[in-house]
Amino acid sequence: MDQARLDAILSRYEGETADLIPVLQDIQDEYSYLPKDELKEVAKRLGVPLTQIFSVATFFKMFSLLPKGRHQIKVCLGTTCHLRGGQRLLESVGHRLGVEAGYTTKDMQFSLDTVGCLGSCAQAPVVMIDDKYFARVTVDKVPKILKPFK
């Protein structure tokens, strides 16, 4: 475990129980997952039982106990995206990458996830790759939007 890397995150907080979720979010952002040793250390430093940490880590969708890929693909399945073929889009992306939603490609290049709503409903269906939004994505546009990230 890289102690300095974790200390840098913990130093932003006062070390209270209520800091648990923000600390885990920072670890998730920085490491792309929640490594076991780091979680044990967080339990010690915040004085929170490890069981509570695991319950939080497995309750919220944002957290992953396995490393994520270099690029995060989020296919929106909000109501408008659903009506405009979001599910088919998801299948098409999954088919091209050879993974199902919730998984990461073998080469660790992409993680594919769904999201309840990205809030860009006027441009449905919407896909987000890292921090870039793609509007009105139809099945035939999938190869084009994936290309720059390959």
Binding site: V56, T79, S120
Partner: protein, 617 residues
């Protein structure tokens, strides 16, 4: 920015700010709202920077990225002031022409102007476009004209004037009294009177109290709060500071979904600015009142939009709701009195104080005051954010503002209230939109999602969509919600798969009744709404699925059959590459064949085919 030491200092700063600003200076505002951003507003803004530089106009013309300008389907939108010219569908390639024609020569680029579909008239100004004409923007008023990152822009339009007034002229009781008299009710969906909530909290015993802004906008199909958090963050903050003063809170939280990274960034910047300028901290504007506010990011749980679950997650626990009472205003965060209001509710506060509660109460209906922002999306011609007085009818919103149904199809239903709401059929189009009317037809106003559906949408599929969403998001704490959703989803899946039975409908109604009466929180209590409203108004559609094993809207995949028409198939093989199971075979440039045994009915071939050769029945 200076630190404002006193009310006079703030007033003087604003006076000088307005004197410095030339209202005639040309401004270009590129929309950076939730709709235009995915269409490339950053690229358009970059093109303006380059083009203005090339033409030596960088110093004369003020270029800004604004919040949502509405009418999202026609994005990227660009507003030119002071002429108030509204351009649409702007791409980086259009920018040189806009600079040359409009900024240098004062001419309108006609092809970038809204064209009325009925009269074919070109409408240059925003105020003339039907989408905006019927609106009454209070909360969205500043979104299209300010740079959300600029405190000066907010101050120039009267920002923090209400805070100054409250801290210098009003007692906390007077503030609560004003909010009560305004008739403002919670905009997150519950519709609880805001003033009464504040009063309960103020009168609750204890020295330490909290305020929270609920920005965990989770309803799929709703992006009003995202647009306000990204487009006018200081208005939310000003409302919160006023609220904290009224109830006596010294600490506040803004809880934002992590799926809204830009909102998190803008609000963090806003809080930094407010601390620097003395709108947060000790002794705000020398009033003796002090407050700090921090941001908590949601971690991806829909149930955290429920207030007790939200507070549990701020405390560091999983987002499980608790039974009410006690209400948060009595025992909330860390067991202490807490006022929790939605983004739009907070954003209404400064204007209520500024214009007076009577002014606000004059807008809307008897029991629902003010305006409401809706995200109008789905099968309408014009999509985007609309803000209308309470009591406006669904027909006005969908047909006058939204311009009717896309491709002249037939209106089927409008879904309001997200997963807690229902589908409202045609016979209620003249219903005035307010808290009570929508409830009377089995839906709710909710936070403001308004998804319009045409005859291409299947009501069984829509009900299944919401139940599947809620099934995934239910926290699992109470049995009626957890097991009820599981079984509703099972039954709906059976119906969609062609295995539905007549008894299923009665069974679903029975399950719904149990869930509505016995679930702990709003998620489970209102979860039956999508199913019940569909059963009530679209029962025949369920019956067709069950008896005839057919989906009239051609949506429910297991009930469909895909075939390839050899006459139209060109043998381009696009569908072959897309098919996940290798069900399509044939030689290149020859008609293809689809093996019905292998077909999983995913419809990817249907979507991919450019020649309409894939048929569905």
């Amino acid at each position: 920015m200076p630190k404002f030491e006193s009310p006079e200092h703030l007033r003087e700063y604003r006076r000088q700010l307005l004197a410095r600003r030339d209202p005639k200076q040309p401004q270009v505002l590129v929309c950076g709202g939730p709709g235009c951003l995915p269409l490339g507003s950053e690229e358009v803004a970059a093109a303006f920077t380059e083009e203005l530089g090339k033409n030596g106009l960088a110093a004369q013309v003020l270029l800004k990225t604004s919040g949502c300008q509405g009418l999202c389907d026609q994005g990227v939108r660009v507003l030119l002031r002071p002429q108030e010219i509204s351009y649409q569908k702007v791409t980086p390639e259009d920018v040189p022409e806009i600079v040359e024609a409009t900024l240098k020569n004062g001419q309108v680029v006609e092809r970038l102007v809204y064209e009325d579909s009925a009269t074919h008239e070109h409408l240059v100004h925003k105020a003339d476009i039907p989408f905006y004409r019927g609106q009454n923007a209070l909360v969205l008023r500043k979104l299209d004209v300010i740079d959300p990152m600029s405190l000066d822009d907010y101050l120039a339009l009267g920002g923090y004037r209400s805070l100054r007034k409250v801290l210098t002229e009003m007692s906390p009781e007077e503030v609560i009294d004003a909010v009560e008299r305004s008739g403002l009710r919670g905009r997150g969906g519950g519709g609880f009177p805001t003033g009464r909530k504040w009063r309960v909290c103020r009168e609750a015993p204890g020295e330490v109290k909290f305020i929270i802004c609920n920005g965990d906008e989770g309803d799929p199909g709703a992006f009003m709060d995202r647009a306000v958090m990204e487009g006018d963050p200081h208005a939310i903050l000003e409302g919160m500071i006023i609220g904290a003063y009224a109830i006596g809170a010294r600490k506040g939280y803004i809880y934002v979904r992590h799926e809204y990274p830009l909102a998190v960034k803008r609000l963090s910047h806003t809080l930094d600015q407010a601390r620097e300028c003395g709108f947060l901290g000790n002794n705000i504007l020398r009033s003796g009142f002090g407050l700090d506010i921090k941001i908590n990011r949601g971690a991806g749980a829909f149930v955290c939009g429920e207030e007790t679950a939200l507070m549990a997650s701020i405390e560091g626990f999983i987002g499980e709701p608790s039974p009410r009472p006690p209400y948060p205003a009595q025992q909330g965060l860390f067991g202490l009195p807490t006022v929790i209001n939605n983004v739009e509710t907070w954003a209404n506060i400064p204007e209520i104080i500024n214009m007076g509660p009577e002014w606000f109460a004059a807008i809307g209906t008897e029991k629902s005051k003010g305006t409401k922002v809706f995200s109008l999306v789905g099968a309408v011609n014009h999509t985007g954010l609309v803000e209308v007085p309470m009591g406006t009818t669904l027909r006005q919103i969908i047909f006058e503002l939204g311009g009717g149904i896309r491709q002249d199809r037939e209106f089927k239903a409008v879904q309001t209230g997200g997963p807690s709401g229902g589908c409202i059929p045609k016979q209620f189009l003249d219903l005035p939109v307010d808290y009570d009317s929508l409830q009377s037809v089995g839906s709710i106003m909710g936070s403001g999602g308004m998804i319009v559906m045409d005859t291409g949408s299947c009501m069984v599929d829509v009900a299944r969509y919401f139940i599947s969403f809620l099934h995934a998001e239910s926290c699992g704490k109470c049995t009626p919600c957890r097991e009820g959703l599981k079984n509703l989803l099972f039954i709906l899946d059976e119906i969609i798969a062609g295995r539905g039975e007549e008894e299923h409908l009665a069974l679903m109604e029975e399950l719904c009744a149990a869930m509505a009466s016995a679930s702990i929180c709003g998620l489970g209590q209102s979860a039956p709404n999508p199913v019940l409203s569909a059963l009530k108004y679209f029962r025949a559609e369920y019956e067709t699925h069950i008896r005839d094993k057919k989906c009239p809207a051609l949506v429910c995949r297991p009930l469909l059959k895909f075939t390839i028409d050899p006459e139209s198939c060109t043998g381009c093989l696009a569908c072959v590459r897309e098919c996940p199971v290798g069900a399509i075979t044939g030689k290149k440039k020859m008609p293809q064949e689809l093996d019905q045994e292998l077909c999983v009915k995913c419809g990817l071939c249907y979507e991919t085919c450019q020649f309409d050769a894939v048929k569905v029945e």
